[in-house]
Symmetry: C2
DNA sequence: CAATAACCAATCTAATTAGTCGGATATTAC
DNA sequence: GTAATATCCGACTAATTAGATTGGTTATTG
């Protein structure tokens, strides 16, 4: 598992798509505009996302991309995996003395950790990222109400 | 949080150090040999690890590096942070229309996720990675005992 | 003093990342 | 049917990062 800018762009774009889910197709031009990612780069990312069946496309005017399934069924690990293709990680495959020697121990430790990280990201779906934020915002508003409502100008309290 | 080959090398090297902890200083030449990472690249990584006070060095013959504290007090996130310096992630800082517009929502969603990942890696220490493996190995041996002990030569069962 | 090994900096190359360009194809609206 | 939209596609380029190389200096040990 690796987590680079490429994966970040992909997750960001998919979150944008999830936020606008149910409003019809979202064009890459819109995502490009909103997220500050170049259109052609998005095209490359979405080619991979489409091949991984995470999004489907609608061509022509008014077209764009849509999630293939509910945001609650799309997991971060799937997104990262589809754009950030994995490298062989261990650098150990070719070396003869490495199989089950002491040398190999550390490689296995790394791959254990790596799969833990992967598992972690496999449990986080797009909908829950969005939901978590809504909960936090509600909590913040409640907190603000209790503590600062009286002292603060009304327009700063209301959201 | 990003997780690249650089961070992987650093974690691998630190795991190697942790495995050999208590045997006196471990030289970079040894790690280089065992893990297949070039000596000069290790030097660059360990310069950063030392600046982050994760390792201390002993110069001269028989010298090398040692963990500054118990492996159970060194966390993966600390290692990754010290070598894989963070970029500004959002690409939103400079854009005027982004602050609290709809555009910024997705950026915040990403940064929420990013801090979740960071938190996750902040909870995993080197000792537990090693321990987890030992537990798994013991379990594998137990399983083997129950199923195959009678049929297998003794020297392959005992470790 | 000779060997070892950390320390340091600059430089180079290879690989990857990020973004560009010029199209082709499908779809819609007029 | 044609003009506009927007996906699709491949090749190309610029910039950054990864990793290697070189050529040392300094500290420690025997």
């Amino acid at each position: 598992m690796r987590l680079t800018a490429k994966g970040r762009y992909a997750v960001t774009a998919m979150l944008d798509l999830a936020v606008h889910d149910g409003e019809g197709p979202t064009s890459l031009a819109d995502i490009s505009e909103r997220q500050g990612i170049s259109l052609s780069y998005l095209e490359q990312l979405f080619a991979k996302l489409r091949r991984s069946h995470l999004v489907k496309s609608v061509r022509g005017p008014g077209g764009g991309y849509q999630l293939t399934r509910a945001a609650s069924s799309i997991y971060v690990a799937q997104i990262v995996d589809s754009v950030d293709e994995i490298v062989d990680a261990t650098r150990c495959a070719g070396r003869a003395n490495c199989n089950h020697g002491e040398t190999c121990l550390t490689h296995e430790l790394w791959s254990d950790l790596s799969s833990q990280i992967h598992q972690f990201l496999s449990d986080i779906d797009l909908a829950s990222i969005i939901a978590k934020r809504e909960v936090r915002e509600r909590a913040a508003r409640q907190h603000m109400k209790r503590d600062d409502l009286i002292r603060m100008p009304a327009e700063e309290v209301e959201a």
